[in-house]
């Protein structure tokens, strides 16, 4: 039975009736299973209650695994090289956070490290750790604890905002210096896409339903 779980779409936990409460208006719904690729909306206010994403576990795992691999590139390869006044400086992701810490604003530097390095790592690493075993219907040790921390850290993942910051700064520097895009920049752009795709690939409700079912095995 265990191997067949991965093929099954969105298993229903034991017990019931399963309900869903709208986060916006508090309306109680009976949460019947919905077809893959469709979403359930609140009857009163229209907000999304939950969505059934196709091939959710496989997608989350592959996107977050790719994100983890890209993180290695992002942290080792320079984003941008700048030639100005006969000097060459390069930007790396940890370099941006460290510069603020070294130059007298350690709190802001820690914030930047939290939003661009630590939170994405918790999210991508956590998703691989939790979702890869779930493909085989297994529960990783502490999976529920990890999932709780993932939902707590999700709003603080600011990868895409940092990319906008890179573009704005480059436009600012482009007038006074010679800039060359490095591998790190393209890896970072890919990382942004993979993180967004990984987070969007599974509904929170589905992930917890799967965890509950795997726990009961």
């Amino acid at each position: 039975m265990r191997t067949r779980l991965s093929i099954l779409t969105w298993p229903e936990p034991k017990g019931g009736p399963h309900r869903a409460i709208c986060h916006y208006c508090d309306t109680v719904h009976v949460a019947d299973p919905i077809a893959e690729g469709s979403r359930a909306n609140c009857v009163l206010c229209g907000a999304t209650l939950f969505q059934n994403r196709p091939a959710s576990l496989v997608r989350v795992t592959s996107f977050s695994l790719t994100a983890l691999l890209l993180m290695i590139v992002v942290h080792t390869a320079p984003f941008v090289d700048m030639d100005a006044a006969g000097l060459r400086t390069e930007l790396t992701l940890p370099g941006a956070a460290r510069a603020l810490i070294d130059e007298g604003t350690p709190l802001v530097g820690l914030g930047v490290a939290l939003f661009t390095i630590i939170t994405p790592l918790i999210l991508a690493g956590g998703l691989v750790y939790v979702c890869a075993p779930l493909i085989f219907g297994r529960l990783a040790p502490g999976a529920m604890f990890v999932t709780r921390w993932m939902s707590r850290s999700e709003p603080w993942n600011m990868i895409e905002v940092f990319l906008l910051g890179v573009l704005v700064s480059l436009l600012k520097l482009g007038k006074v210096a010679d800039l060359h895009f490095g591998i790190g920049f393209w890896a970072f752009a890919g990382l942004m896409v993979c993180m967004a795709a990984a987070v969007a690939a599974i509904d929170k409700r589905e992930l917890w339903d799967r965890l509950e079912v795997a726990k009961g095995q």
């Binding site: 508090d26 109680v28 790396t92 510069a99 802001v108 709780r148 600011m158 704005v168 436009l171």
Partner: protein, 221 residues
């Protein structure tokens, strides 16, 4: 009870049911902790309006130094220039980089200000101080939560400039004290948005409907 197409739909408050904030399982609020993930269950976010207002006041106070203090200092050939967020934006505008000037204006000035105003409005509406459409304000809340993070872009720009522009005697950029205040504003408004409970808007709407449909007291003889 709310009505949809004449049919009554139950609300969690009436049934004593609460949706878990972490795992979304619906359980009786009397169980205190979510049976699935162990998170504390509550009908409404605790002290929602008080907490939101406190965080908003803090954010509004911080907004002043965030805009008045320099966000970065650049020392070019021995001459120091301090620039605030607004000065940085004006510089982009004057050099003809209108799209970037607009991005900075939106992310750094408009969004934090609109967030503070929007959340104040939501709190007032939830208290019944202003007439409101709960459906529309629910959308306002959704947008407020969605956009909040983008204000952090200016902090990242400062981090990148400080990391890259270290050219010895020629030009050096260092972060200013405004950066801490500005990061504070963004984080405080994010926490304020998280502590507001949009269900309160519908609770208030329901109270108003009850008041208007209540039967007038029979006249005493």
């Amino acid at each position: 009870m709310s009505k949809v197409n004449g049919k009554e739909v139950p609300r969690g408050l009436e049934l004593g049911l609460a949706g878990c904030h972490v795992c979304e399982k619906v359980s009786p609020v009397a169980e205190v902790h979510c049976p699935r993930c162990g998170t504390h269950l509550h009908m409404r976010k605790p002290d929602s309006i008080t907490r939101t207002l406190a965080l908003l006041i803090a954010a509004a106070v911080m907004y002043v130094p965030a805009n008045l203090l320099p966000i970065l200092t650049s020392r070019e050939l021995g001459i120091s220039t301090e620039s605030t967020i607004i000065a940085g934006m004006v510089e982009f505008w004057n050099t003809g980089a209108y799209p970037i000037a607009l991005v900075i204006f939106t992310a750094s000035i408009l969004i934090p200000l609109l967030k503070i105003v929007a959340l104040l409005w939501l709190c007032a509406a939830a208290k019944g101080l202003v007439p409101h459409s709960a459906k529309l304000l629910g959308k306002v809340y959704w947008v407020t939560e969605l956009l909040g993070r983008w204000s952090m872009v200016d902090i990242f720009v400062v981090a990148i400039l400080v990391a890259m522009v270290q050219l010895g005697n020629y030009m050096v950029i260092t972060p200013g004290s405004g950066a801490l205040a500005f990061a504070g504003v963004v984080m405080l408004t994010m926490f304020a948005a998280m502590s507001f409970d949009p269900k309160l808007l519908w609770d208030q709407l329901e109270r108003e409907e009850e008041m208007s449909t209540a039967q007038p007291l029979p006249e005493s003889e």
